[in-house]
């Protein structure tokens, strides 16, 4: 090791040890250890005589500088210990410099998560009109005029005879017509219901619909895909259960419940003491709907599902009032 390196090492060693010196005695011990006649500095400088004439002054200067630093440090330390000098006090508990950043709406966050899950399973993500024809919102979904199922959704009608879509299912036949089979697509979007608002009902809310058309799609496939979806969003394995649900555009049709995350399925007000929260409607695509989409139901089959994004977001973050989503309140929006 060169002398220069040795000096550097000495410096580091000194800094390390002075950091631990708690009293004056320790400081004077350090002074003797490093600068005394038989101290470490002297020991290193014994090597000077072996150096060339050019190097000698350079190392000498370096040693001098180091010696001064050590003396200086020892003085400062002794002053601090004696209480004579104030060390520059920095309050490290002060907050860091604030970085300002915005927020995505929680609906967007979860919508993106879902879209990513389905993109990874090679589903397209598609968008569609919110002011929609009766045909795509109802008729092509096997809900003819005056069908009682129209009662299931309180519809906003426009003066021109169109409707505000009551469900993202309006995209099913649109997607079938545009892309044909096989087809894998999801449709997130805003939907509308003409009903009185309260903590769990809104006129404007968001759904996430999915459609898969292929050969030999079965109920087991549907259940497995839905399980992927739920565990993907909630980031853990949760219990789900399937029960019959009536939607005219699927046959058979199901409601899918997830175990209540609020109470872990024991029963609480959130789940109306049932232990389950209803999140999805789903089922195998009704052959009539396939026909409307120009797809031969003898050759192709498929499943569809639709979930209320608001409900899912509420379960995920523990939000208790659906109206917050449309409130534009930054005290809400900045929490995500």
């Amino acid at each position: 090791m060169s002398l220069e390196e040795q000096l550097k090492q000495l410096r580091n060693k000194f800094l390390h040890e002075i950091g631990r010196a708690k009293n004056i005695q320790a400081l004077s011990d350090l002074e003797i250890k490093f600068l005394g006649r038989k101290g470490e500095m002297s020991r290193i400088l014994k090597g000077l005589k072996n150096l060339s004439g050019e190097e000698k002054p350079k190392i000498g200067a370096l040693a001098n500088e180091l010696k001064n630093q050590i003396v200086n440090d020892l003085n400062k330390a002794s002053q601090v210990i004696k209480g004579e000098a104030k060390e520059e006090l920095i309050d490290l508990t002060l907050p860091g410099k604030k970085v300002m950043y915005g927020r995505l709406h929680p609906i967007t966050l979860v919508k993106n998560e879902l879209a990513d899950i389905f993109t990874s399973m090679s589903f397209m993500v598609l968008d569609g009109p919110e002011a929609e024809s009766d045909f795509y919102n109802f008729e092509s979904l096997n809900i003819p005029p005056y069908h009682p199922a129209r009662d299931m959704q309180d519809t906003f009608y426009l003066k021109d005879g169109n409707v505000l879509r009551t469900q993202t299912s309006n995209m099913q036949v649109r997607a079938m017509q545009k892309y044909g089979p096989p087809l894998r697509a999801v449709f997130p979007g805003r939907v509308f219901r003409n009903e009185a608002t309260d903590a769990s009902h809104e006129t404007n809310f968001f759904q996430f619909e999915g459609l898969m058309i292929d050969k030999d799609i079965n109920i087991g496939n549907l259940v497995a895909t839905m399980q992927e979806l739920i565990s993907g969003v909630l980031k853990k394995q949760v219990e789900v259960r399937l029960r019959p649900g009536y939607f005219p555009f699927v046959e058979p049709g199901f409601e899918m419940d997830v175990e209540c995350l609020n109470c872990g399925g024991k029963g609480c007000p959130v789940c109306k003491h049932s232990g389950w929260v209803e999140i999805f409607g789903c089922g195998l695509v009704h052959p009539n709907v396939l026909k409307y989409g120009g797809i031969d139901p003898k050759k192709w089959s498929g499943f569809a599902f639709g979930l209320g994004l608001n409900r899912l977001v509420m379960v995920k973050y523990g939000i208790n009032d659906i109206r917050l989503f449309m409130s534009g309140d930054l005290r809400f929006l900045k929490q995500f």
Binding site: G102, R103, L104, M124, E130, T225, P244, E251, G253, G328
Partner: protein, 797 residues
């Protein structure tokens, strides 16, 4: 719909001990429909007994209160009561013995009232939840003190399943207890015991005629005259079951028609024959504008789409919806005409929807009933009337006009198809058993089942093999089906460019400290006026519920302004954006591509608002966002003058991307004379739909400069009307070694002279071939200053 478990037990064995009502409810939820609630009626009034007033004294410390000693059977308690109802010694009435919770939610505890202890409460009917009236039901001495009030009042000891009606929209058969019992039987693997129907013996005393003038609206009508009627209360067992199912008992005839409706799901009606002119029933459409007073006393305006039951002179019932006030059964009715009919679901639904008159009958008819059910129900009702009213007899022939075509649906079910749809093999034996329990007739040949659908499932409900897949799988149990992810061919999903850009843009704005918001798609009438919209250009709703839902929003900005206003009390600076659709009263996409009209044009906008209580130059903050966004998206951006209502002090520009002006891209300072939000606000409002269609050029790398640059700051004094953009262009054109010009500041003061301003900027010089010399740059600066002086009269400051 409320389903009584006691009632179900008439038709199916439900084991009392091994299957609790909650478990039955769960089984039904998992296999048939959603049971929303399980209500135990017997526990509802537990702790309320009949008490006898033994002694009544005035409360020593309160004028209006009394202290009573009450015998509640096993003990004597002290109860304090007020003066809502006068009570005297010897009265027998319902007493809540503390501690107890009443059905209304009131907690009764032992408590001192003005110093005297009260150990219970005298109960009004309203407090027991058995009626709305503030009166006391008194009992006679026949009832022993201490008798539970539920027994004394004959309240049903029953458990009620409250069914979510939406979940049985497609199942008219489930709107009666027999249908429900059939499901229970199939789920439990038990036998269904339908009530025995006895043949009806008729006398021909009366000549009852039925005529149907509109067979589409009324495919079948059965009328039967029954004489020897004595109106009286119906038997207690029937009253109890009706009460359980939420129907108020009225009298034997009305109760029997309701009972049969709740049994078979077939609504019925009874007329007093004295009110039926000419002894003839005529079913026909109403005259447009005809008025009719329904049983509830309401006068209804009818149209030619409504169906009426008439006699030879006038209308007597609004078919399938509600009877008429003029023909209802009275206390002295001796002969009735019993109606059991089948009406078109569409006709009933239209009428009930238009009149906003939803009844038990209309709810059932609109779901499409089996015409054969009308006959079954008629026979059942006659059987019950004859059984319950001694002396009653059928006094006419059964007038049955039947235009319905009996519809036999046979489905060929391929067992491979079944397996393919379910994803696993359910043993054939099990499949057949399930279908038979649901009353499908099944024949197996080779790998096929020939399945005949029972009439009560054949109207709309079951018609294709897929429907049978559901029947089999739900009774088999969805939880028993193994799940497996679908096997698919890998294919790269097509990317929706607009949605992809949405994410990019949103992420950019979040990085720029904007919070995303979603506002309602509506615009209020008031806002339409405030923000200066012509109603003709707005998309209007037909059935909006509140005035704030009359129009669809034509722009995102008013919503953002309102958001900012809402947040101002809590924040000094607000940055919000929304990306969403706006709606214009002009043709957008085709409705269906079949030439049947258009949807409203509904482009997406990207709009943002910056509001600050402190900072100035908000316009430039908004402009900066747009400029940076363009750079981020690799779009060329420029601006054009623009000025309109919402722009304050001409601080507004139209944004031009890639040199081509597109409709509706603005950045501006908001004019608070339009709507005052108590702080300065800057807006950017971009036509996202068009933005997303712009061709985006791939970003290209340009080599990092090899030679150092020289940067010089320059400040010149010019006339205040000289624009930065012009100065910049002039500088840029001075020499090819100029590689960049950056704005620094502008200011004006008295020292500069009248109408003068100082404009400061940096210029970057660089050569790609060599290191520039300072002297070279000095020369160029001179050249620049000369040009600026010649062009703008600018001088070095």
């Amino acid at each position: 719909m409320k389903v009584s478990i006691n009632w179900l037990k008439k038709y199916v064995d439900i084991p009392n001990n091994s299957l609790k009502p909650n478990e039955l409810a769960l089984k039904l939820t998992l296999s048939t429909m959603e049971v929303e609630d399980v209500i135990d009626m017997s526990s509802a009034l537990k702790g309320v007994v009949i008490g006898k007033m033994v002694e009544i004294k005035k409360h020593p410390n309160a004028d209006k209160l009394h202290v009573a000693k009450v015998d509640v059977g096993n003990k004597m308690i002290q109860v304090i009561f007020g003066q809502v109802v006068k009570l005297k010694v010897g009265d027998m009435l319902p007493i809540a013995v503390a501690p107890v919770t009443l059905p209304t939610g009131t907690n009764i505890k032992k408590a001192k009232i003005r110093g005297i202890e009260s150990e219970g409460m005298c109960c009004l009917d309203s407090e027991l939840g058995i009626s709305e009236e503030d009166k006391v039901t008194f009992f006679t001495d026949k009832v022993k003190p201490g008798t539970p009030v539920a027994d004394a009042m004959n309240l049903p000891r029953d458990v009620i399943l409250d069914i979510e009606n939406k979940s049985i929209t497609h199942r008219p058969d489930l709107w009666g207890h027999i249908g429900m019992a059939r499901e229970v039987a199939a789920i439990l693997g038990k036998k269904l015991k339908e009530p025995k129907l006895l043949p009806v013996k008729t006398k021909k005393e009366l000549d009852l005629k039925v005529e149907i003038k509109d067979k589409n609206a009324c495919p079948r009508y059965i009328g039967i005259a029954i004489s020897g009627i004595k109106i009286a209360p119906s038997p207690v067992w029937m009253q109890k079951l009706l009460s359980s199912a939420g129907i108020r008992p009225i009298n034997n005839i009305v109760d029997i028609t309701n009972f049969v409706m709740l049994e078979f799901g077939q609504p019925m009606h009874a007329f007093d024959i004295r009110q039926i002119e000419g002894g003839k029933i005529i079913v026909k459409k109403a005259q447009s504008g005809q008025e009719f007073i329904t049983l509830d006393g309401q006068k209804r305006q009818l149209t030619s789409e409504d169906l009426l039951i008439n006699d030879t002179k006038r209308a007597v019932a609004l078919a399938g919806v509600m009877g008429g006030l003029n023909s209802e059964v009275k206390d002295d009715t001796k002969t009735i005409i019993l109606e059991s009919a089948n009406f078109s679901p569409v006709v009933i639904r239209k009428t009930s929807a238009r009149l906003n008159l939803r009844t038990e009958a209309s709810a059932r008819f609109e779901k499409s009933l089996d015409p054969n059910m009308a006959e079954k129900a008629a026979v059942r009702a006659v059987n019950l009337i004859l059984e319950i009213i001694p002396g009653a007899y059928v006094s006419s022939k059964i007038a049955d006009i039947n235009y319905s075509k009996s519809k036999k649906i046979k489905i060929k079910l391929d067992l491979d198809f079944l397996q393919k749809k379910i994803g696993e093999k359910i043993p054939d034996k099990k499949v057949i058993e399930i279908l038979k329990n649901l009353e499908f007739k099944v024949n197996k040949s080779k790998n096929f089942l020939s399945v005949e659908v029972p009439g009560f499932r054949a109207m709309r409900d079951v018609s294709i093999p897929e429907d049978l897949v559901e029947e089999v799988s739900r009774i088999y149990g969805f939880q028993n089906i193994k799940s497996s992810l679908p096997q698919i061919q890998i294919k790269k999903p097509e990317l929706d460019k607009e949605l992809a850009l949405e994410r990019t843009v949103k992420n950019f704005l979040v990085g720029a400290n904007f919070a995303e918001t979603y506002n309602y798609s509506f615009m209020t009438e008031k806002d339409a006026k405030i923000f200066g919209y012509n109603e003709k250009n707005l998309v209007e709703l037909k059935n909006y519920a509140a005035a704030d839902q009359r129009f669809l929003r034509p722009c995102l900005v008013p919503g953002l302004i309102k958001n900012a206003e809402h947040n101002l009390p809590y924040f000094d600076e607000i940055k919000l954006f929304e990306l969403g659709r706006v709606f214009k009263n002009e043709p957008g996409e085709y409705k269906t591509g079949k030439g049947d009209g258009f949807l409203p044009n509904q482009p997406k906008r990207l709009s943002g608002i910056i509001v600050s209580k402190n900072s100035k130059d908000l316009f430039f903050s908004a402009k900066g966002i747009v400029e940076s966004l363009a750079q981020y998206l690799n779009l060329n951006i420029s601006f054009k003058d623009n000025d309109y209502l919402w722009v304050k002090n001409r601080q507004g520009l139209e944004v031009v991307f890639n040199g081509k002006p597109l409709k509706h891209n603005y950045v501006y300072l908001f004019n608070r004379q339009v709507y005052d939000i108590k702080a300065e606000a800057a807006i950017f409002d971009l036509n996202f739909t068009q933005l997303a269609k712009l061709p985006v050029e791939q970003k290209k790398y340009s080599p990092i400069p090899q030679f150092p640059e020289i940067k010089r700051d320059l400040a010149v004094v010019t006339g205040e009307n000289i624009l930065w953009a012009d100065v910049k262009n002039e500088v840029a054109a001075a020499d090819p070694l100029i590689k960049g010009i950056e704005y620094l500041s502008v200011f004006s003061n008295a020292g500069l002279g009248m109408n003068k301003k100082s404009l400061a900027f940096s210029i970057i010089f660089r050569s790609d071939k060599r290191t520039l010399l300072s002297e070279e740059v000095d020369q160029i600066i001179k050249k620049i200053l000369k040009r600026l002086e010649e062009k703008f009269g600018a001088k070095l400051r």
